[in-house]
């Protein structure tokens, strides 16, 4: 059976690529520290030596639209083109091409449907920065095949937080039952407190540092009980109008398992939103 060699949860900050590659007067003052933290975070994936990456993210109204909106969708394709015109325009992100791990996609779809998750699928999916940001930060070679899994954290009505956790728990079991010798890393990205297109956007910190502090504590300690007690679809409006992306972190807490303390935790307080990086090693820390 396949083994899950790392579970990684991260914010996806579309400004990292430009900040980390800019030079001279264009290089922001926080870039060097950011690159140091990302380089250390990257090492947590490298040392797990994965063969396949399952990538959990959320389409930002690129390919998935309100005329036909899935709640959870699994990509099943041999390749995924990546990044969209408006992501090149606004963030300077490069066009990319990633290989797909189609047999694992098929396994997740079949087993997910049988486990009670009515997963949508796509055979031609262009992925966006929710998936490519962690490729750029964690595996910039972009050489490993992926299975993209999209969640709807964007277009209400949304699934409730507990459903994200349940799907994460199911994904873990389903991958562990995949008849393969391959080493799988599960990587998911979301947000801490975040405001987009509202009065609290682009402040000197994230819109709700106290929420961020508690959120990092929940994730780092695997405290799903308190997280699920305090986080609801309604409560997530208070820290910032785009904070429902935190539910992707909750999905990843489900993958890691209730009570699982993260083996690696780091944060970076930036303007607009806080960065946060977590890695779990379900089979123990690699030598």
């Amino acid at each position: 059976m396949a083994s899950i060699v790392a579970v990684i949860a991260s914010t996806h900050h579309p400004f990292y690529y430009r900040a980390s590659t800019s030079t001279g007067a264009d290089r922001p003052p926080f870039a060097d520290e950011w690159v140091r933290k990302i380089t250390a975070f990257r090492e947590t994936l490298t040392r797990a030596n994965p063969d396949v990456l399952v990538m959990v993210g959320s389409d930002h109204f690129h390919q998935l639209w309100l005329d036909n909106m899935p709640q959870f969708l699994v990509g099943k394709a041999p390749f995924y083109d990546a990044n969209w015109h408006n992501e090149e325009r606004e963030f300077g992100l490069p066009r990319m091409l990633l290989k797909g791990q189609e047999d694992l996609s098929a396994h997740i779809l079949r087993a997910g449907l049988d486990a009670g998750f009515d997963l949508a699928f796509s055979n031609e999916l262009r992925i966006d920065h929710s998936v490519t940001c962690p490729i750029i930060t964690l595996r910039p070679e972009a050489d490993l095949p992926i299975v993209p899994i999209y969640t709807n954290i964007f277009a209400p009505p949304l699934p409730r937080p507990a459903r994200f956790v349940k799907l994460g728990e199911a994904i873990r079991t389903i991958i562990q039952e995949w008849p393969s010798h391959l080493r799988v890393a599960v990587i998911g990205t979301g947000h801490l407190s975040l405001e987009l297109g509202g009065p609290r956007q682009f402040g000197p910190h994230g819109p709700d540092p106290e929420f961020d502090r508690r959120a990092v504590e929940w994730i780092a300690t695997g405290d799903l009980d308190n997280c699920l007690r305090e986080v609801t679809l309604d409560s997530l409006h208070a820290p910032g109008n785009a904070t429902h992306g935190f539910m992707d972190f909750m999905l990843m807490m489900g993958v890691a398992g209730a009570g699982a303390k993260a083996d690696y935790v780091d944060t970076l307080d930036l303007f607009h939103t806080m960065e946060a990086y977590f890695t779990w090693y379900p089979n123990g820390v690699p030598a």
Binding site: N86, F154, P156, G197, G198, A242
Partner: protein
């Protein structure tokens, strides 16, 4: 209220660089043309199938023509779509980093929780 149609306008204009420029320079012409020619287009159909019933209210049309992102927020347009398109149109006029983004937020300072419902 046609929040869906507001979102469809923001989404489809944002994806087309020529339409972004037309919306920046000639908003009345672009909004009028879009409502007449594009509002009822089914996005994944290239033949004659189209919807027949989609139109803006006067308030929605005026907000779009006026580049009034505060009014669009009040009407429940999706804030991510509005922000993305308006950055595409106006960030180029910045004299310092994030100038437009910060001013955009400052113009919305009168909004308090709960924000307008964006469910479509």
């Amino acid at each position: 209220m046609s929040k869906y149609l507001l979102n469809k306008f923001l989404y489809t204009v944002d994806r087309d660089p020529a339409l972004v420029e037309r919306y920046r320079e000639q908003p009345r012409e672009l909004v009028t043309w879009w409502e007449a020619e594009r509002a009822n287009e089914l996005l994944n159909c290239v033949t004659g199938e189209a919807s027949t019933w989609l139109r803006f209210t006067g308030e929605e049309r005026d907000a779009l023509i006026g580049h009034d992102h505060c009014k669009l927020f009040e009407l429940g347009a999706h804030p991510f779509l509005t922000l993305t398109l308006f950055i595409a149109m106006f960030e180029r006029d910045n004299t310092e980093p994030l100038e437009y983004q910060k001013a955009y937020g400052a113009r919305m300072a009168h909004f308090a929780l709960p924000y307008p419902d964006i469910a479509t």
